[in-house]
């Protein structure tokens, strides 16, 4: 997907055809079948009427779009995909801004209590979400933010992880560039906008994808603060759909829901392939 064959493939290995290659191919094919099996059966199940799914689960027959349509309307997935998109986009944009600003301050500016603030950021990096959500639910409740985009997004508008990631690349910018910028009369904000940001664009892209995926995949938090059906995200919406359509004869409606839920993110990943590797390995800073 996101990889190229340039460095990994070494000419020395394909001088040996024969059983070695065949075995390699066989193993790859076997694992590929295992990996694809859930995807394949899910797709087929989503395309068959409920009563037919188990007849011949691996044979594409009796295909219909009606189950997908049911999942879309009954699961209100349009609404939930929209909610997820709003929240993920807002969180991603905000995390980029807050991270860049804070990272710039840590990397380029001198200010009192710098060590202290740095320690504060570092400390938040170690706190797992699961520990704070108990109290966060009450905070968001007392703010009147249950069932709202604020409630879903605001607690995640800043990230120490992103700050450290950006600070790390800012610190690799040669001092000479900053000095030259000062000569040119650029202030900090000008330097940030015109010199620093263009230099770190790849990392920004990686952070953006990382933030987007993290926000999109949130499960526990939206579950905790949503009591109105309209405000589910696609993840909690799937949970609700799974609980709401237990009719035995239409048990594949939630399955169809997973297909609908997975499609947009698959598209995003295909479009942003180049950021994907960096986005995933970006987490290395977090440790």
């Amino acid at each position: 997907m996101a990889t190229s064959d340039t460095t990994g493939a070494i000419g020395i290995d394909h001088v040996r055809p024969g059983w070695r290659t065949a075995a390699r191919f066989a193993v790859l094919a076997l694992v590929a079948v295992c990996v694809l099996l859930p995807v394949y059966t899910t797709l087929l199940a989503a395309l068959k009427p409920g009563g037919k799914v188990l007849d011949r689960p691996f044979v594409p027959e009796h295909l219909t779009l009606s189950v997908l349509r049911d999942a879309w309307t009954e699961g209100r997935l349009g609404r939930y995909l929209w909610n997820s998109t709003v929240v993920a986009v807002v969180v991603t944009a905000a995390q980029l801004v807050t991270s860049v600003l804070a990272a710039y301050a840590f990397a380029f500016l001198r200010f009192p209590l710098k060590t202290f603030w740095f320690a504060v950021f570092l400390a938040t990096l170690l706190v797992p979400l699961e520990t704070t959500l108990v109290v966060n639910r009450r905070i968001v409740d007392s703010l009147g933010w249950l069932n709202s985009y604020q409630g879903l997004a605001v607690p995640f508008l800043a990230t120490a992880f992103g700050t450290f990631l950006m600070r790390q690349v800012f610190m690799q910018i040669p001092k000479e560039l900053r000095e030259a910028a000062v000569m040119d009369g650029l202030g900090h904000l000008g330097f940030l906008r015109e010199v620093a940001l263009p230099l770190v664009r790849p990392t920004l892209g990686a952070l953006a994808l990382f933030s987007f995926l993290a926000s999109w995949n949130q499960y526990l938090w939206p579950n905790l603060i949503t009591t109105e059906e309209d405000m589910n995200t696609v993840q909690t919406g799937l949970r609700l759909l799974n609980a709401s359509v237990p009719d035995i004869e239409r048990f594949n409606v939630p399955i169809a829901g997973t297909v609908i839920a997975a499609l947009p993110i698959a598209l995003v990943l295909i479009v942003f392939q180049r950021q994907l590797v960096r986005g995933l390995t970006a987490g290395a800073v977090k440790g």
Binding site: M1, A2, T3, D5, T7, G8, I10, D13, H14, F25, L28, A32, V35, L36, L37, P38, V39, A45, T98, L101, A102, Y104, A107, L109, R110, F111, F121, A123, T124, L126, E130, T131, T132, V134, V135, N136, R138, P155, A158, T163, Y219, L220, V234, Q235, P254, I255, G257, T258, A261, A262, I265, L276, V277, R278, L280, T281, A282, G283, A284, G287
Partner: protein, 314 residues
């Protein structure tokens, strides 16, 4: 990781100092407000609440003191959940890393269709925990699951049908782990493949010239050069295992009873069938202990990572 506190650009005249400080605070303020309000304060509050027992609405709280943490840590439920969590990590992390490594190495060659395989192995990165769990639920449910209803398969493994892999105390956790490994494969594969590709090919070539067998080249070149990547993958998978919630919630609800075979620490805090659920004090107490456990893990892992900070291929 080393923390360089010396500012890169500090050669400014004193007159600008105050302004620079103000600018810095302005730039930090948005992050500080969010992080203090939604991370540090809740953490402190949870630590405080963990000393209390309350009713379900967090009223009528009694403070029992720090000893309550010890009681919680010693309680059967907590220890059981900790053990389940550790088991879950032991099931998912080594297999996840090895699978990612093996597939990345196998698919890292000029081979017919290698691109196809790479796409397949990367594909699960597009599934969220809810999507992946529901897909597996649909495979494994004893009555309606596709796998559970393949005749030859369940005559070979009767447990698939009776009582079902997710309903049998002996297989439930492993089944959840399999779905988790599957869902994580995309991430692992992509990261390890990227790591492989950043190994300088000269190393392989010189080993080849020295007459090293493919296996020796794998153990002597690939694995050592890849170990930072593998550690990173292991760290991420471990923290995912310790924070597993969605897959448990959707696949098993922490069950099956009576063993609560899949009640992990996070599920003990938030799960709908958890005993801690009806008491904000207990809930916070367990959540804080989860933090302590993860902290201990991170401390060890940070040592493992050393001062390496790795992002992309810079």
């Amino acid at each position: 990781m080393t923390v360089a506190l010396t500012p890169v650009s500090s050669r400014r005249r004193g007159s600008g100092r105050a302004r620079e400080s103000l600018l810095a605070l302005a730039m930090l303020a948005p992050s500080i407000v969010i992080l203090v309000t939604f991370v540090l304060y809740p953490l402190g509050r949870a630590v405080f609440l963990g000393r209390q027992r309350c009713d379900a609405q967090a009223r009528n709280c009694r403070t029992n003191g720090w000893g309550q943490y010890l009681d919680i840590a010693k309680s059967d439920e907590f220890q059981h959940a900790l053990w389940v969590t550790v088991k879950f990590a032991l099931l998912t992390v080594p297999v996840g890393v090895l699978l990612g490594l093996g597939l990345a190495v196998l698919a890292d060659k000029h081979l017919r269709g290698v691109r196809f395989f790479r796409t397949v192995f990367s594909s699960t990165v597009a599934t969220s925990v809810a999507v992946a769990s529901l897909m597996w639920l649909f495979l494994l449910q004893p009555s309606r699951g596709v796998l559970a209803n393949i005749d030859w398969l369940n005559s070979l493994f009767p447990v698939m049908k009776r009582p079902g892999l997710l309903n049998d105390p002996g297989t439930a956790l492993t089944s959840v782990a399999v779905s988790s490994i599957w869902a994580n494969l995309g991430f692992t594969f992509i990261v390890v493949t990227a790591g492989l590709q950043s190994i300088p090919r000269e190393l392989h070539e010189s080993a080849y010239v020295d007459g090293a067998s493919p296996w020796r080249r794998f153990t002597d070149v690939t694995v050592p050069m890849l170990s930072p990547t593998l550690v990173f993958v292991a760290v991420v998978l471990t923290s995912r295992a310790f924070q597993a919630y969605g897959e448990i919630d959707l696949l098993t609800n922490g069950g099956p009873t009576p063993q609560d075979s899949t009640t992990t620490l996070t599920y003990l805090v938030y799960g709908s069938s958890s005993v801690a659920r009806s008491d904000a004090g207990l809930q916070s107490g367990v959540a804080v202990l989860l933090f302590v456990v993860l902290l201990a893990l991170s401390a060890l892992q940070l040592r493992g990572l050393g001062r390496r900070v790795h992002y992309g291929n810079e």
